[in-house]
Structures are given as structure tokens and as C-alpha cells.
């Protein structure tokens, strides 16, 4: 219950403060409008057209300020704010692998003035893992749109012994638990991918859990580890520089930016995963608000600057509208559900059965 109380922090009625901001930035007319709306209490006024320009739209990012999600959110909302003429404020609420921010998002008032960034499968990991005791699930979110999908890859040292996915699997089968493969964290999407691949192929790896992509790269370059399960985004720079190479990409289709790299499905393992960033609100958000934000996100994905900045970070843009994003979410959840049990078993935790 404590979380629910903490979570209700909508920015209702900061009209006076924002009125002042507008006066300094956009001239007297807007200021008068804002002041006028400040004098009428929100309850009495007729519901204004979304977005009410005097109210900031809070965008909860459930990760630390400065992390990739935070920066991507800032790039996208910077455009969207100008596009729909609203003040979109990025609020980083990190903690518990995004659980704190998501909890706050789903328990905020569904009025369109609090939305958030949802990373999948990270958020699924949060609510599907029984030990997390999450009080929400997929139905607690209202999808607005997806803007980025960073498919998982298996990456090795360019001049190392493994040239194909099969080489790696054969080596792991020949000497079980001696081929070191890395993730960037326990229960991360990397971890989900490894246990699923191991299960499908019967290979046994020595799993090493690092804290971030840089450490995974250092492990590969130094030859300390054999292969890293990591996103295209984190590995691309090093593949371009010639230090590392991809073995497979876990996307549905081969990627144009990775010529000659097969999908894992073509290698006989029917599993696709990657880290996605979407924009979602709490369930029950007005359709009108969703439509406005969805359309604006769509325009952002066509904006030259936004696309260039996000692509340059190495993370591929992939836009899905609200309906497709919802389907994408559902499909991914069905696919990763079994891997949760596999991960827990892998850590020696007997707790079985994923949460609903």
C-alpha cells in the first residue's frame, strides 16, 4: 500500500508556476490564458482539450538519469513536447530494475498527464518474477507506441575461434560449462536469451553476469570470455571498429544494418528477443490523449534529427503504433514466460510457476 500512496504524484494544477514560465517564454497572450485557467479550479472547469498547455506532461523513466533509456526519452519527448505544444518533463525514477518507476506509472491518475517509458522484456521480467511481488501486469498499462527495438545478438571476438553460431554451440557441447558467455545482469534480457538458447540446443555454458555492456566488451576483447549476449546497440561500435563480430541476431528478419548475419531462427532455434522502448500510460487513459501522443510519436519517428540521434547511438528505431505495440507486447510475453522459470532454475532457485 505504501507504494501506492507514494506513487500518486500527478502534476495537477501547477498552473500558476507554468503560467509564469509561459509569460517569460511565449508572450502575454499565453500567460493570460494560463492565469485564467489557474483561477478556475480543475474540478469545476469543463475537461479541456488534450493537452492542456498549462499542465506539464510527466514522463516517468524507470531508470537512472543519464542511462540510455533516459537519453532516448529526452530526445523523443524534446520533439513531442514542441510538436503538441506541451511541456513534457522527463522524471527519472530508477530502482529495483524499473519496478519503482513502473509501479508509480500504473498507479498514477490515468488522465494523460503522467505517462512513462516501458522497456520490454525488462518490465515483463519485473511482473512475471514471483519474488518481485509486483502488483501490476500487462493489463495495467495503456500502450501508446513503441519507438525502438534493439535485437539481441551473440557477439564474439573478431579473430576468435568461433566463426558461426554452430561453432559456439558445438564447443559448449563438447566441453559442458567451460565456454564462458556473458550477460549484463542477472534476469536481464541477455540472461533470458542464454537460458532459452541453452535449452533449445542442449548446450551448457558457463554464465558470467556482468554489470553492463562495457565490461562484456572488455571480457571479449581480452579473450577472457568466449561470447557475449548483447544488443545490437551495445556491440555495433565494436563490430564497426573490427574488434568484435556478430554470430547471429535474434530478430524475426535479418537486419539490413547487419549484412550477412543470420537470424537465430535460421539456425534452428525459434527464439527472437531484444530490448524495446515503448511509451505507455496507466490503463484507463483517455482515448483522445493516447491518440494525440501516438500521432506525435509517429511524427517524431519521421523527424530527421530524432532519427539521426537515436540511430547514431547504435540503437535501431522501430516504430509501432498503439495497437501493434500492444500485440508486440503480448507476443513477447508469451515467448519469454518459459525463460523465467529457466532462469530461476539456473540460479538454483526452486520457486516454480510464474506470476499471472
Amino acid at each position: 500500500m505504501k507504494e501506492n500512496q507514494r506513487a500518486v504524484t500527478s502534476f495537477r494544477g501547477t498552473a500558476a508556476a507554468s503560467g509564469f514560465r509561459l509569460a517569460t517564454s511565449s508572450g502575454l497572450v499565453l500567460a493570460c490564458l494560463a492565469l485564467a485557467s489557474a483561477t478556475v479550479s480543475p474540478a469545476q472547469a469543463a475537461e479541456p482539450k488534450y493537452p492542456d498547455k498549462s499542465r506539464p506532461i510527466q514522463v516517468i523513466v524507470p531508470f537512472s538519469a543519464g542511462g540510455p533509456t533516459d537519453i532516448q526519452a529526452r530526445i523523443v519527448t524534446d520533439f513531442m513536447g514542441k510538436d503538441i505544444g506541451a511541456n513534457m518533463v522527463v522524471v527519472p525514477k530508477p530502482g529495483a530494475g524499473s519496478q519503482i518507476g513502473l509501479q508509480q506509472l500504473v498507479s498514477s491518475k490515468p488522465d494523460g498527464y503522467t505517462i512513462g517509458i516501458t522497456n520490454n522484456p525488462t518490465s515483463m521480467g519485473v511482473y512475471l518474477m514471483p519474488s518481485r511481488k509486483a502488483t501490476f501486469n500487462r493489463a495495467s498499462f495503456a500502450p501508446i507506441g513503441m519507438f525502438l527495438f534493439d535485437p539481441e545478438t551473440i557477439t564474439v571476438k573478431a579473430d576468435g575461434p568461433y566463426k558461426t553460431f554452430k561453432d559456439l554451440i558445438d564447443a559448449a557441447k563438447a566441453k559442458p560449462k567451460s565456454v564462458r558467455v556473458t550477460t549484463n545482469g542477472l534476469f536481464s534480457d541477455d540472461h533470458m536469451a542464454i537460458v532459452s538458447v541453452a535449452k533449445a540446443t542442449g548446450a551448457q555454458f558457463a554464465l558470467v553476469h556482468f554489470d553492463g555492456t562495457p565490461e562484456e566488451v572488455a571480457g571479449l576483447i581480452s579473450g577472457r570470455t568466449a561470447a557475449a549476449f548483447m544488443g545490437v546497440g551495445g556491440s555495433m561500435a565494436h563490430v564497426r571498429s573490427g574488434a568484435l563480430r556478430h554470430l547471429v541476431v535474434m530478430d524475426d528478419q535479418p537486419m539490413p544494418s547487419l549484412p550477412g548475419i543470420p537470424t537465430m531462427k535460421s539456425q534452428g532455434v525459434n527464439f527472437a528477443i531484444g530490448s524495446s522502448r515503448g511509451m505507455s500510460g496507466p490503463a484507463g487513459m483517455p482515448r483522445e490523449a493516447i491518440a494525440v501522443l501516438e500521432a506525435s510519436l509517429g511524427r517524431a519517428m519521421k523527424d530527421h534529427t530524432v532519427v539521426e540521434k537515436i540511430n547514431a547511438m547504435g540503437t535501431p528505431i522501430r516504430y509501432l503504433n498503439a495497437a501493434d505495440f500492444g500485440k508486440f507486447w503480448e507476443n513477447m510475453e508469451a515467448q519469454i514466460r518459459p525463460s523465467i522459470d529457466l532462469m530461476l532454475a539456473d540460479q538454483g532457485i526452486e520457486e516454480k510457476g510464474t506470476a499471472k
Binding site: 507504494e3 507514494r6 537512472s64 538519469a65 543519464g66 542511462g67 540510455p68 533516459d70 537519453i71 529526452r74 530526445i75 524534446d78 522524471v91 527519472p92 525514477k93 530508477p94 530502482g95 529495483a96 530494475g97 519496478q99 519503482i100 509501479q103 519474488s131 511481488k133 560449462k177 567451460s178 564462458r180 542477472l186 534476469f187 558457463a206 554464465l207 558470467v208 553476469h209 556482468f210 554489470d211 553492463g212 562495457p214 565490461e215 566488451v217 572488455a218 571480457g219 576483447i221 581480452s222 577472457r224 570470455t225 561500435a237 565494436h238 564497426r240 571498429s241 573490427g242 574488434a243 534529427t305 540521434k309 547514431a312 547511438m313 547504435g314 540460479q347 538454483g348 532457485i349
Partner: protein, 497 residues
Amino acid sequence: MEYLNDLMMGFSVALTPQNLMFAFIGCVMGTLVGVLPGLGPSAGTALLIPLTFTLPPTGAIIMLAAIYYGSQYGGTITSVLINVPGEASSAITCIDGYQMAQQGRAGAALAISAIGSFIGGTIGVMGLVAAAPLTEFALEFGPVEFFALMVLGMTLVSGLAGSSMIKALISATLGLLLGTVGMDPAQGVPRFTFGSMELMEGIGFIPVIMGLFGVSEVLTNAEEEWKPIVTAKMSSLWPTMQDLKESFGPICRGSVIGFVLGLIPGMTGSACSFSAYVAEKKLSKHPEKFGTGMIAGVAGPETANNAHANASYIPLFTLGIPGSATVAILMGAFMMNGLTPGPFLFKEHPDVVWGVIASMYIGNVMLLILNLPLVGIWVKILKIPYSVLFAVIMGFMMLGAYASENSSFDILSMLLFGVVGYLMRKLDFPLAPAVLTLILGPLMEKNLRRSLEMSQGDFHIFLESPIAVGLLIAAIIVLLLPMLRLLKYLKRPAADA
């Protein structure tokens, strides 16, 4: 010679009026970010990234880099003046810096730390020029070596003891226990989290150090009707010849410690500054005087954290591997501007890389020029009556604790540790050992786990690495030295009796 030409070209880029201005803005912003608690260098850099979209790439990166090294200067100010660490790597400076302020020597402490920061920062940048061979060293440090280094770090705790070794060890164990809170690295199960989500990723470091040092200080002062911070006569703003002489060694050693540790990916600035402090205390002729306002206890760590900040660019430029969290954010800024950090950056965009490196020399000079005159202004804060200042300090800390993660929980945990720190002071427990082990403990446990994941449970992996063996032997020597002294002492009991 080739490097020299490149560097000259870099200066021609960095010295354009536009880029000078970006470096200057970055330095000022960085100092501000350092002064405000809770706004660490990572958050400060992140906040400004959107503002750099419209800037030219070189200018944007020059500015963001300046924020990082600028924050290392700024963090000291609040540590010295009001015992509140502005950012994590300045926490250790509280111990002797604040004592100096109480003796009216805040000016000297701030000036020395600005000078030390300048020297450490410059040496860090100089290392960037000769980066290539050092890269190999960074790669040598995997989980096994990291674990051994942390073990060596742990043995230094004994160097932080005050009058009682038992109390220092209890304090150190407390820090280690606090470090175990959160998801454990072996199975990923929550430990000591009381079912709270906020504790899943461990106890926030910023609230803990602000509580232990800052809040406990205000509480202690509240016992008597607001005695002023400065109890002696305010002496000159500038360090005396004696101060400079005493700081020379610490600055040299701090540069080396910060630089070497900065090369290792995953090492934090706070671990560097703590190591530098302990090294000074161990090497000093008067270790017992540390904690009473020794200038060496300010000069060493403050130099080390700047050397670290600049050295952590080396693995980024040579390998594309960021050496610290803030450098990782800068890597994002590089990539957003179409520059891929790594060995090819020097070849493909020499103007950008050398321009940024040259701007870091210039930025360090700017910060020195900026900070020395500011010392006079900062010290004036101490002239405000404490009966007003205490309220400002409390508000300042509340804001800082909240803003670091937008979380009220951090305010509550800061208060809890404020009370813990207050009681520890009253019972004469040293605080530094707990903070040191809180930094090192989780790193040690994680890297132990990783090493064993690599060997699948075989402890021999620690004997296969020459670096790890060397570090572990060093740890054993550090542990045995005091025992040898004890033996000597026991052998001549008659003389004392």
C-alpha cells in the same frame, strides 16, 4: 613527435573562441553540479545532453567533458565548508577538510584542493596522450584481478582506525553488512530489503554519506546552542609555505593512484580518493594527526579523484570501453554525434579527439583560475551565523537526497544514517571505515562471484593470474606488518615496564 603535432592541432581546435566558451560553460556548470548534493556528475551530464543537440559535435563534447572534471572541483567545496559531500568522490575530504575549516583554515583547504585537482587533472590528461600502451593494462583487469585489488583495499581499513582498532573494525563490518543489502549477486534474491522495492538495488550511497557526515554534524551541533563552525580565528585564505610543502608529496602520490586506478574499467572515483587518503595516512610521520585537519588528507584524495576522472577517458578513446559511469554517458554523446569511440576515432576524427584532449588541458587551467578567487567567496559562507546556516544546510541536504533519484525514500534513509552517524560519533566510532567498506564490499562480492562463474567454482583461478597473486601477496603483507610490530613490542616488555 607525431603526438606533439596532433596535440598542437588539438589546441588549434580547442582555442577557437567558440570552443573556449563551451569549455568555460562546462566548467561553470560542472562546479555547480559538484556543489549541489544529489546532482552528481552523471545526472548533470545527462541533463545537458538535450541542450547539446544543436551544438557542433566537438563543442558539445568539450562542454560535457568539462562538466565531468568541473564537478570534481566543485564537490570539495561543501565537504570542506559544511561537512556535506557534494558528490561521492569528495566524501573522504570531509574528514580533514572540515576540521581545517573549523580551525579557520577553510581557505587553505579549498585552495590546496584546487591546486591538487589541477595537477591531478593535468597529469590525467597528459596520460591520454601516451594512452596506447596503457590500454593493455586496463584489459588485464578482469573480475579475478578486480577481486584481488578489492581484497588489498579492504586491508587498508586498519589504516583508518582512530584510537581504538576494535571500533574501527566494528565500523568496517557495519559498512560491509550495509553493502549486502539488496539483490545478491549469486542468486538474485533480495537480502535485508524488508520487502521494500527501494532497497532492491542496495542502499543509496549518496544518502548514506550525506547522513553519516552531514546530518550527524548538524545533530551534534544542535546539542549546544549552535556553536559556530569556525572555532578559531580565520587565518589567511591562502595556503602557507608549510602547507604547500606538506601537500607536495600527497599531490604526487594522489596523481599516480588516481591515474592508475582510473585506467581500470569499473573503478569508482570514491574508491580512488579513499585509497589516496589511506595511503597518505599510512605513509605519514604523524598518522595519529589525521582527522584533526591534516592538509595531506585533503590534497591526496582531491588530486586522486581528478586524476581518475581524466584517466577514465583512456579506455574510452583507445578501446571504446568507458572507464566510469559518467564517461559512459559521454560515450553516448560521442555516438549521438556520429563518432564511434575506439581505436579508429584517433584515425578518423583526429580533430575531435585531440580538440577534446586539448580542451581538457585548457579547462583545468580555467578551473584553477576560476576556483582560486572563488575560495574567498565560498569561505564567506562560514561567516553566516550557524543558527541560520544549520537550517540552510538541512534544507540543502533534503533537496540533495531527494533529487539524486527523485525519491523520498532517500530522504528517510539519509535521516536514519544521520542518527546512526550521530550515535557513532558520540560513542567515538570512526565513520570512514564504514564508508570505505560500503564502497568496496559490493564490488568485492560481485567480482568474487564473477570469477567463480568463470571457473565454475574452482578457486584456482585466483592463482592463475600473476596480477591477482601479486595483489593478494601485497594484501597479506599489509595485514602482517602490524603483527610484526606487535611481536617486536612484546619482545621488549621490560623496558616499558
